[in-house]
Assembly symmetry: C2
């Protein structure tokens, strides 16, 4: 199929999603069937409005493609727009495919997480039913690491590195006074505890300056157990670093941070788990306690990238272009970890039906017997993903990023 | 004076205070009058309890001295203990000088901020009145940059770099959705707005991904003006990044974040300025608003150091040792910026009486006419301080730090 291609980004931004965009672009350039490579602004929502930009004049200039790789957040903008079924909202699908037709788009690449893969799945189904001649490929990203069909998601490694680095520095900061004190750090992750788990990489050789207690949403949370856990840690040290997921829930299933409002996908918006835990600790133990929300920094801290993550995110993007060239459609780029002692990733094709609207949780074998930390398999899984540093480009000491608004 | 020397750290930790410790150590080593170089644990409080450690066996091992330079937070621990006058609490002074005598301490170096310099001043005065034969030298540090007698304080440059980097990344993160939204970032600085000012370094060439509005504690804050300022920014862009100091005050002098309790020095403990501003914006403008507290990370983010800051902090430490060797006592290491276009720092001797218990504010000339951002002199002052990066040592992808608890 000769024609143009379109790449768009969707869902929450990550520090690596632009490396994937750079990868798709670089792969699409090598496909002689592809003429113009467009970027779609603000995901499927912007595409419906016909907001497409020709990427070559932007990315072929200077070292912009390299700069793009280390630019955090979605360069093309994003959306959280969820397509309804085409049985109830066919006009949306028509609008999208009409835009595709207008710009002669034969290949569409959508970079995103679970919800975005749902969009890819629906577009594929509509395409199958209506034969509009467009190849649709999903390329995964999410800091949450909760997608099936991949060993881990692009973006997760950098977020994990930032969280572990930051928690280790917080532990250093907390250790200075000769007094009992507790810090509760809150990490993102509504239902899957991968990001919280990665705080476990904040440890030194002797476990003296580390994340001491880690609570995942996969394990029912109990204040009684928390207080007992803290007392046990305090037998050996005066300062305790606790890391909790925003999504920790009590035995009865209620969130520690009560869901206050729903987001556009109907998910409850959380916030304040650490604040609540802080208050309970002060009440129960009377110890000086501080809570810290790592907040959006965990998904946009491009000054603390994992080189492994950026390299892999780029390769995943390139594989997206390759799958399209091979005639695949309605699939997502997948990955499997190679067997053997040395870390390696095999990047290939994943089944999108096994991805959309599902969430991969932290397996029980990754959690220690006390349910407050990591078991060895968790370290084995996580450690390769945060390896390597990238020296980002700076100007007057501050990182430089590529900004789409400079070009449109 | 032949004898031993003692170095201690006090006050809030910074990412550069250990570079200063490394500098004093390195300078003291070259002084042939100094035999053993001790570190005092937990500042003056630990010294009163005789908690001294010989530093040579720690810092001469492997590359520990280099590692110390890039370790955040106070390696020797800290305290917030404030000495009373020796007219009312002479026993404390006796205790300290008895420890000095017991360990044959002839040189005492205290690394800290305003409150620590008060301790240096008092020890000097007691020494003058009682002739206990000890040289007392202050070496400045504080992320707050509010000390006189220095062009800027060691630790400030790294904190400024981290804040500007982070705010720029938050701006990238916020720009992705095609909707109106506002982020309020809260930065430390009770009475002096230096750290908040440094968020102004988060800008790109065209001002599209930047800190849009900056409010310092030096300027009376008005919600009415804030809303007008936001509306003006929104004429040109949909996302607005606002940076506020934790210490912003209304015209009548009341803090936005009401002081809830006093810390050990009687300062009101602030928190929640951004949360309050967030609530008011939502109420007044009905725009999606999020608040982010940068929290302790701004003082301990050793993964984002300013090379200029670390180099200068080390040199300030070395100058402390030099002043002692020259027979100075009761002084603090000071600095003056060299004249001329090219940035340079002259490190010398400062007058401690002009430092203790005083706070240097941001001058009016650094603030723009609209009182919501930087004037050119602020850029000229700040930019050299954040220059240069340091590739910190990592193990399995996570920074390695030197930990005193591995040695005692």
């Amino acid at each position: 199929m000769k024609g143009n291609c379109l790449i768009a980004q969707s869902g929450g931004p990550t520090a690596a999603i632009n490396a994937t965009l750079a990868g798709v672009y670089s792969g699409a350039k090598e496909n002689e069937n592809i003429d113009i490579i467009y970027g779609g602004l603000n995901g499927i929502e912007g595409i419906m409005q016909g907001k497409l930009v020709d990427l070559a004049p932007i990315l072929e200039k200077d070292d912009n493609l390299e700069l793009l790789k280390n630019t955090p957040s979605s360069f093309l903008g994003s959306c959280r727009y969820k397509l309804k079924g085409f049985d109830v909202a066919e006009e949306e699908y028509k609008k999208i495919f009409d835009v595709f037709e207008k710009f002669n788009i034969k290949y569409f690449f959508y970079i995103g997480g679970n919800d975005s893969m749902d969009t890819v799945l629906r577009l594929k189904q509509y395409q199958q039913a209506n034969d509009r001649g467009v190849t649709v490929i999903g390329v995964p990203k999410t800091i949450d690491n909760d997608l099936y069909e991949v060993d881990h998601t692009p973006g997760f490694g950098s977020a994990a590195k930032y969280i572990a680095t930051t928690v280790k520095e917080i532990a250093c900061d907390t250790a200075v006074y000769d007094m009992d004190s507790i810090v509760v750090v809150e990490v993102m992750g509504r239902n899957a505890g991968w990001l919280t788990l990665s705080a476990g990489l904040a440890r030194d050789s002797k476990g003296k300056c580390a994340a001491d207690l880690i609570y995942l949403p996969e394990v029912p949370f109990s204040y009684e157990k928390l207080m007992a856990d803290i007392k046990k840690v305090m037998e050996n040290k005066r300062q305790v670093i606790i890391v909790v997921s925003e999504g920790i829930k009590l035995e009865d299933g209620s969130f520690i941070a009560e869901a206050k409002q729903k987001d556009m996908f109907g998910h409850g918006q959380l916030g304040g788990a650490a604040k609540n835990v802080e208050a309970k600790i002060k009440e129960a133990l009377g110890v000086k306690t501080r809570s810290i929300e790592i907040n959006v920094l965990q998904r946009c801290a491009a000054h603390c990238l994992s080189k492994t993550d950026i390299d892999e995110s780029f390769m995943m993007g390139r594989m997206g272009a390759k799958l399209a060239a091979e005639g695949k459609t309605g699939v997502m780029v997948g990955s499997v970890r190679k067997d053997g002692k040395e870390y390696g990733l095999e990047i290939g094709c994943g089944d999108i039906e096994n991805i959309a609207n599902k969430e991969k949780k932290v397996p029980e074998s990754y959690i220690n017997a006390e349910k407050n930390g990591l078991a060895q398999p968790a370290y084995d899984y996580l450690e390769p993903l945060v390896m390597g540093e990238i020296q980002v480009k700076t100007e007057k000491g501050i990182p430089v990023h590529l900004n789409i608004k400079d070009f449109i």
